[in-house]
Amino acid sequence: MSMRELERLDVEAVRKDFAILSRTVRDGRRLVYLDSGATSQKPRQVLDAEREFYERHNAAVHRGAHQLAEEATDAYEAARETIANFIGASSGEVVFTKNATEAVNLVAYAMSNAATAEPALSRFQVGPGDEIVVTEMEHHANLVPWQQLCQRTGATLRWFPVTEDGRLDLTDIGELVNERTRVVAFAHQSNVLGTVNPVQTITARAREVGALVVLDACQSVPHMPVDVGELDVDFLAFSGHKMLGPNGIGVLWSRRELLEAMPPFITGGSMIGVVHMDRSTWAEPPQRFEAGVPMAPQAVGLAAACDYLTSIGMDRVADHEHRLTEYALDKVGSIEGVRIVGPTETVDRGGAVSFVVDDIHPHDLGQVLDDRGVEVRVGHHCAWPMHRKLGIVATTRASFYLYNSFEDVDALAEAIRDAQKFFGTRP
């Protein structure tokens, strides 16, 4: 950050763009939405852009030659360009999927498809003796697809352990990532712990052994400036719905050269070169990976979300969340009987704050919070093995976004104390 401090984000102004934030819940309580890690709310600019597409330009993209089809195709491809710019990529490197989960599966299935295909695809092939490395803090979306790839191909899954304080244990990286490793897949930022992982250290080792690097950026792209040019990974996956965009759209980014070499995943219309009854060839990327009529209105909505975030500035969004997180770690962490799960300092840490409260099960805690209008998530947050490793069944997670205010954190802290009173675990 420059000398001049970053101008602060105007939360009240931002909140006006989100109609849902002015509704009440449970007997007229103000909605305190602290579940953006699961899905974000959408500003009217995004909803308007999507609706405008439907009401003015709707047609099947890349399939028609009439004016509506032209306009729809233009809108779709312009959206791709905007989204590519948002992550410092070029548009030919951005593939649209339905969510990040599909994006990770796309890579994992392309790899097992390569296993039964021509030898030219050997860089994507895995089999017995090969290893795939993940981490113990992965979301199921970046774990189960790799388990399944191993199951289909006979490769072996290995993983970085998580330390007690919620960081990756890289002690054995030299052994764990070795010449048998074909893929290293990990989260940029943990959706439970908030931990921002050391991309460069891991990527550097992966490069030494020639492994492909898959980065789950679901919790980073929405919350901090991300530039694929700086990251030096091979694949990057994220979801639109977590970054103010519509549901039903996700992104797989990869280097052009890799996409050009990679076999397809879902097959059907619009992804083909030539089709005969018994064989087909493929279109160039990104089309090769976008079979069927795509989610053009959602792409347009996601581009509007990128524009919205850009107009505020991702630096500013990150700064705002950083301050909220600092405040929450302090406010919530200092309540007697509350323990933060994950790093307690804001270094290399984003705005997912998970915690346990002595003698109150997260489900029961969540119920009291909900009764106070405070909407958090309880459970294992699709990171079950990590909870098991930390010896916890479930946690309560508050996660922030640009529309959250310091009062939201106050409401959270107060509701936690209410729950302690309600269940009689604290006076």
Binding site: H363, D371, H387
Partner: protein, 157 residues
């Protein structure tokens, strides 16, 4: 406040002082159920006594229900209430009670539970307003159903 409707005293009592908790032997069937959304677990055992001259069938009596579990107040309390309700009843009666309880849970707060059948379990009526918690309330009951059917199966083989 709606919370009180949900967390009735009976529920909190059972939660703080669960009845019949702990795994016991002998048992005829055991089931382990997990709530996939939160990871809560219950291991539940059933011991049955055949009706005089009969087999381990619908007419058998539930001699004991024992369990070990980890979970929220609702799942803990409902399993505790279950043991009170079902120990000493026939399997057929137990299944009827299960049906009545399941129906209550699906009533979205509109159910009029039969206190003669459900006894303390009527306290869970408020839970039916919170769809995400219904699974909690049913966790032990589903395990019971499973454990019983394993007990009967075993006899069948």
């Amino acid at each position: 406040m709606q919370l009180d409707a949900m967390y009735q005293e009976i529920i909190l009592d059972h939660y703080r002082n669960p009845h019949n908790k702990g795994l016991r032997d002998p048992h005829d069937g055991e089931a382990h159920h997990i709530n996939p959304t939160c990871g809560d677990e219950v291991t539940l055992r059933v011991s049955l006594t055949p009706a005089p001259g009969g087999e381990l069938d619908e007419k058998a009596t539930v001699a004991d229900v024992s369990y070990d579990s980890m979970g929220c107040s609702i799942s803990q309390a409902s399993t505790s209430v279950l043991t009170d309700l079902l120990i000493g009843r026939t399997v057929a009666d137990g299944m009827q009670t299960l049906d009545a309880f399941t129906e209550l849970m699906q009533s979205k707060g509109q159910g009029e539970p039969d206190e003669d059948v459900l006894e303390d379990a009527v306290a869970f009526a408020g839970v039916s307003q919170y769809p995400a918690r219904i699974k909690c309330a049913l966790l032990g009951w589903m395990a019971w159903k499973d454990a019983v059917s394993k007990s009967l199966d075993k006899e069948g083989v």
